[in-house]
Amino acid sequence: MTLDAAEPVRADDAPDPLDAAHRSIEYMYERGWTDGLPVVPATRELVDAFLATTSRSPEEVIGRLDHLKRQVTVEVAAINAVMAGCRPEYFPVVLAAWDALMAERSTVGGGWQSTSGPAPLIVVNGPVRARLGFNSTGGVFGPGFRANATVARTIGLIVRNPLGVVPHVLEQATQGVPGRWAMCVAENEEESPWEPFSVDGGVAAGVDAVSTTLVRTSEFVDNRHTGDPELLLGDFADTIARTGSWIFRHASAGVVFCPEHAQMLAAAGMSKADVRGWLLERSGRSKAELARAGKNGLSGNVRRQDDDGELEGFDRFFADDSPRNLPIIVAGARNAGISMVVRVFSSWSGAAVRIEPPR
């Protein structure tokens, strides 16, 4: 059997609705509207159900790339959310995630077109997690959970469709990032010893909120080896300061701690600020190590090879210990000491966005 949007598969007079469903999927592939996976056809009725979940006007422009002459409205975002597989009640989360993303410096410049191929990391806080079924525990980086998967996917479809940043054309990622358009984690507030991540973004604990930043990749730190919090943090500092990720004078990196690691640090009396302060001091490389990677010198703010450079001394990875440069999140299962370092693309905006309550 061949499957083609233009040709009915069955010739009889009583078409099987499943045939039409399959052909509609092919139709949307042919239009270039998908990220490579099948999408759900967006009809007026479905889109209206999504629009009914928000007080915002369908015509409101929520993002624009003036240099590409493209923009996205609330209604077009809803069309893409339907296509991504969202349920209507997820739409306020999509809008908040999008607004949080637009507060990032890179997303309104050329970030989506970049050879580095950055990806949003979306963090959900508040009662909305349980209400809509966002995963905050085992396998939090996905897949397997509709809310996490489809909210993240919607962002990718919006960048592709209304903003027009399509791979191999205006999108020039050299390799891209594993998990692009798929990273939406709910914070494990129940097992975190610290205040929610949204509090670092200015939204009170217990309020539904989304925070988003662009990241380049994620690298695990598996440490089930020590009960000493400083040795544990030393393991993180080593991964954080990997020279391959280090392009400018300073860099940013976030940590998504598993509950076990977070609880060990908190039991030693460390707040999130204490952890950031520790990592600020110890994350970095000696000048000699940087020289071996051709990154010991500086040309303006960009690292470069300096054959005559000083080999004594230590360069700090972070410019400071603000949550913007070192966001800390707690997510995952409490079953092992496995956490994730995430490579923040430039820096986090530092702003969480409230999710509109159900109407």
């Binding site: 239009r31 009809t43 240099h67 050329g110 970030g111 077109q113 050879t115 209304p162």
Partner: protein
């Protein structure tokens, strides 16, 4: 039968621009050359070397060298006007990344619309994105001068050699006599 499926691009009312090419200068002899550097590694050096060759070989005069405020976005209007005021032709680049190659193409089109013939230099690895951007800005056939990738890692002698290769193409792009 899929008329009920809504379009996710929001493009139904997309405006289209028209291609506008500036009049070429008759020759580069005495022509004022503006150089617009997009901040990429080796861009300033390559443009300066091209300027030197346009001066030596064709009798042009480099009147202004400026750097864009944002590598990923098209040239700001005040900067465009500042350069256009003292230039008969403009050389810009180097398109050597995802967003800056696209914006370099847009810059060339903006200068052409302002009446200044423009040569845009781009790494050949970014040809597709530069052409896509030219289409976005209403001039799908806009000519982009390609140089082999990569540019950022070249040493000064290699940059000078690239400039030597590109100078005749730049002259052909912006002047009648160079064709």
């Amino acid at each position: 039968m899929f008329d009920r499926i809504l379009d996710p691009t929001g493009l139904s009312a997309r405006p289209t621009g028209a291609a506008v090419a500036a009049r070429r200068v008759p020759s580069l002899k005495g022509a004022r050359v503006g150089l617009l550097n997009n901040t990429k590694q080796n861009a300033a050096q390559l443009l300066a070397e091209i300027g030197k060759r346009l001066t030596e070989r064709y009798g042009a005069v480099v009147t202004i060298q400026r750097t864009k405020g944002h590598v990923a976005l098209p040239v700001e209007e005040p900067l465009l006007k500042e350069i256009a005021a003292v230039s008969d032709v403009v050389v810009t680049g180097v398109g050597d990344c995802g967003s800056c190659s696209a914006s370099a193409a847009a810059d060339g089109i903006l200068f052409e619309r302002a009446g200044i013939p423009a040569a845009v230099i781009c790494s050949d690895a970014f040809e597709v994105t530069a052409r896509a951007m030219a289409e976005v800005h209403g001039d799908p056939d806009f000519e982009i001068l390609l140089t082999p990738h990569p540019v950022a890692v070249l040493d000064p002698a290699q940059v000078a050699a690239r400039a030597a290769e590109l100078a005749a193409d730049v002259a052909a792009r912006v002047s009648e006599a160079g064709r």
